[in-house]
Symmetry: D3
Subunit: 276 residues, 6 copies
């Protein structure tokens, strides 16, 4: 399949390489081969191996990267993630960009996994948001799936979410849902954001198929679950943390969305060593 992230890799490489790696091209002969190992410096969930493969392929198609485990597996600090063999120039030149992708995506998958573990046994799903790093939307959403989470919509065009501002501009929840039903493709479920229980009832009456419960406390979430009675999917949203997520899941909501798993996952520590 066309790696849908090929252009993302290309842009990141262009930003780093510019007119070329003047240090490596001067010091390393074009014919020099090398072998390198990528090693974990902490424990985490591995994610982004195919992106690294693509980065190295773009730098030099003669480089081959052999993963020791697949995306989604956990790794222990000190263990090897993959080996990379081929022209030494390409390995050194591509290293930083490849790692920048891998370290962030592994961080996203790892943090997602932590949230997923916390709610084990409940009926809720962890879902992501559109609060992703600019330019990395698809990749970070992939990392969320790798970490055991689920994707909310990918963008503004593949899912309907009627938010507070839309409601205000469209003249209320009922009007907004009706207008939406009359125009959007029949393949979309309609979700609406609400702030209180009265709005939950209005959304249900208007036929909403999913309801985003914005910043509600546990008590209110429980009441919303009771009111909905399975007639619509319920999504809890707003400042969800590893500490609070379990209790939220136990209210009976179907989905819990967490912005931090994409916008604040940071970077997992690894090290690339030339072995030959």
């Amino acid at each position: 399949m066309i790696p849908i992230w090929a252009d993302i890799c290309k842009n990141a490489l262009a930003q780093d390489l510019g007119r070329g790696d003047i240090t490596t091209n001067t010091l390393v002969p074009a014919s020099q081969k090398a072998e390198a190992e990528l090693v974990a410096k902490e424990d985490f969930v591995v994610c982004g191996l195919p992106v690294m493969v693509e980065v190295f392929r773009q730098v030099d198609p003669r480089i081959s990267m052999l993963p020791d485990l697949p995306d989604g597996d956990g790794i222990r600090s000190g263990n090897r993630i993959c080996t990379i063999t081929g022209p030494a120039r390409g390995i050194l030149t591509g290293e930083r960009v490849a790692l920048n992708f891998f370290q962030n995506l592994s961080a996203v998958a790892s943090l997602t996994k932590q949230f997923v573990e916390k709610i084990k046994g409940t009926n809720a799903r962890i879902v992501d948001t559109r609060k992703t790093t600019p330019g990395l939307r698809q990749l970070q959403k992939y990392a969320v799936r790798v970490g055991g989470g689920y994707n909310h919509r990918m963008g503004l065009d593949d899912g309907v979410l009627i938010k507070e501002n839309h409601i205000a501009l469209a003249g209320g929840i009922t009007a907004a849902i009706k207008l939406m039903e009359e125009s959007v493709s029949h393949l979309h479920r309609i979700e609406v954001e609400v702030e209180n229980l009265e709005q939950v009832r209005e959304a249900l009456d208007a036929g909403a198929q999913a309801i985003l419960l914005d910043n509600m406390d546990l008590a209110m979430l429980e009441k919303a679950v009771a009111i909905a009675g399975g007639k619509a999917l319920l999504e809890a949203s707003g400042n969800v943390s590893l500490d609070s997520v379990r209790a939220i899941a136990e209210t009976g909501v179907d989905l819990i969305s967490v912005g931090a798993i994409t916008h604040s996952a940071g970077s997992r520590d690894v090290s690339l060593l030339i072995t030959t």
Copy 2:
């Protein structure tokens, strides 16, 4: 000036908008105007206002954004960052991408500023690394400057840094520096990465103009400063934290590079409210 980040904004918007914002386009009339405010939800250093301007301009050139303060100023939680006025559709459609940029860049500037404050009064500079989020190199390096830090090289083509693997492949520090001097433009200073004091001496003898001291403890850094005696710029590198940075600066090194200010700054909290 050509906003050098125009393509970065365009790609991020394309990822989010895809074929268009189906919710907004259905619910909000094309002629509807709106006014919105961006408000800080915590204290931080503001960064990325011109990027938000560009994002909104690309979505709809009729949107105007008026900042209340410039990039680099600190803001208090609850205070207004800027107002945005224009067609309601464009404001709602562009909001998330604009904020995704702003929240990350403000986080980078804010974290940089924390490091810079810690070493106030010493002669050291905080410099960034190439450990940036893929695709955001120039923007995050700009945020580092906004936070009071300095840029290391922008990419592999505008600065010479001879690293451990180059040294191994080129046959030693002296050989590598000589080879570099013989081929690179006279406008580049040559920096070499070293791991111990013997290498510091070899680098100085070979004429290195800058030396990266990799993962040295404070005692070794002090000795390196003494050995160099001002003949080359010294850069401390490796797992620098807010706790350790002051002591490192006091060893007398010229530069302290910190990867975390770009790869793990996360996101600063803000809120966009439609006011009309």
Copy 3:
């Protein structure tokens, strides 16, 4: 809003202009102004005016085009569609590409309208398919809406349609639906293609939210409607013509998809006259 079709116009112009209009550039002085009228040569539903505006804008931003009516209105043969004023070179150079868009989109809207008129008073909607002219997907889907039809999914990424081949490869209807439910975003409804009534029942039992009834005759469509009993949306599909569409709608299906409205609409006849 960013005209999402700007690149489509740009490519079409590039194919026609190549290195420039050698006839016009030689014979028409750069300073010559002109005024032109676009006139209908038959009756039809107008569609594509904003695309023509964009084409002329790209050729020369000083050209202004003033429509006499909006997209979606019917026009009679002999009536004026719009006036175009500005530099004569640009008008002559852009004419053919602008008209090529407009004539096809008006044909799509007009043919759609004919189908829509036929089923007036029933509960069914006319929906399009992915059988669009390569490169004109969004524009032709827009023309369908202008003609009073509804859009099915825009592409393979914004809607779930489990077709015959998917069912075979996934191990049956029930297995396919379950697998889909477990992985896809909660904002998607799941539609499945079936060929007989037994499959309708299986799809309903498995929880399908929409069912595509492929090439069924009227009797079978009626039975499917009875079986579904409103528990899922029903879409009739397969060689629907202006002659057969009314009877199909009267079976009680919710949606009737027609490939011909996009792939075989042809072109509506117009004429551009320089008036000054």
Copy 4:
């Protein structure tokens, strides 16, 4: 040779795939292989096989497509056009776009062929126009050749055609031809559009090498042929149909241009079946 239509395929795929085929990627394992047959559902002239090859290659280079006959051959309803083997995902994902190209190009070639057959035995050639589907210029012009027709100019830059509006703005036929001769490359023949016999004479006197006879009836065409006496190529143009084309050819004109062969050819019916 560089497939000059590679970008056209890429754009069409991008419009259909967006962020990826969510149905297929969920239901069909990445390792699944499949074999498919494309079968004609009516009689027509086959055209566009290399474009389908390119589409599938872009979706997944491991797919191989083996045509049963070359472009330009006629096929009977029920006969196989080609087989496609490779990863099942890629075949299902690429199918619709590949077919959209093939069905339109085969329709163009088939309709062209019908016109060409009608004038068999005369000295006239069927030529196309610039009334092509936006974005498909080169491909549809190729289909015209495959159907036995000839190409007029490919765009505004590779041929000189002085039309009515140019004549008006340049100060008459003679002035326009002289101006053109004085500036254009010696490799271009100059063609001028005329509306009556007096203009035919003026064009000949001014040295036109080809004359487009716009919307003339048969009697006038015959007179034009007599007047020209072989001193210039004559092209009949304007609402030519399968019914009228033979009589037009028999007037003795050299070329008959037909817009409908590209803008209203529609789509030929085929069916793709997974066989394994």
Copy 5:
């Protein structure tokens, strides 16, 4: 009109600016305005003013450039070519690229003019070749016209020139011309390259409309002119110099093609001075 060279300017700027002008951006305040003059340092024919306008526009649309004379006029050393006013940063940043274009294009126009002057009073035209600087085809061909020369074909797609190698592979001059006549658009004249007088006769007999006389001496050119007797256009080609061109023109050939006017024109000397 769309400046057809906009992308050429963009690429040239991208190569020079990379991530931005670090000297100017550091030393010159963003608000600083400046005024500059471009002055000729030798005598030449001015060409490329609109390209400079475009370059400065791309760097900063607030820069305005006011030419003192149009493309095609001669200028004396010491005289002013244009003034440039606007933000100082943009003027300094864009200067080098703008001048690189202007100095080469003026050189092409000036050298062309020298050839054109030499053959004044004869019936011959100076024409260019495809031996242009890679990437500057259209611009250098424009400069040839500005210098009083004529364009041969712009590329391989807008003109037919049957060269020695084609003749060999197609089975002779007559076969090649016939094959060409049978397939190419009627708007193309067919030119064939010949090496001796026998081939001139064969080309004429086969109906060639233009003949390129490759590397013939004056005596042979004269004989070719006599043989052709006006039945085809004759083009002399091969190592034409300012010294030899007059005698060649006086043989009576219609066209003289000169590669040097594009590939070896060099650069005309100018100087840009900040005056305020």
Copy 6:
């Protein structure tokens, strides 16, 4: 490695091929193979072989080009440069663009070599400038290295050169250097352009690491060398010719920059012959 010039080749081919080579595609069968030789028609330094390889690869990947010698070697008139084998169409179609690159780059390398030979035995280096052909920056700078010269900065972003206009706008040499030191990455050396000896002294006092001596005569250059005393690199610049360069080098300057080696090298003569 990614050929960094791939896009440059692509653009040049696009300008020449447009919609395709109509002569070759008509006259040469697709299956025809050919073998060609490239032969020098004068003595020169060979440069650009990998660029020709890339051009032919883009035209048809089945073409293989086998060089007889590497870039940088001298060749004698009449000797073979390389052989090219593969599909005849691709060889004929790609020939002109491939040669346009090669002939210019060989000219740049050859002229550079002439300058380099002239100063043999001195301590000076020949360096290039930013006066390159628009679009060919990296390639011509590569040719300079191949000819034995050195690169100055590649663009405005990878080196600091404070020129006359910057000094004026920044408030003097000392102020400019200080400002620069305070903001630019520590990996850049700072060079400043001066016009007289007083400025040389000021630049040295302010800590300039390199000084460009603009248009100084030999006597002044010698004095500048004496004043600098090795504390900064000295670059002589301004109308350097093959006649004057030796004397300039003997003044003791470190670098001599020559614009003519890139902007006025012209083209070296070669001939491509089909041998089979």
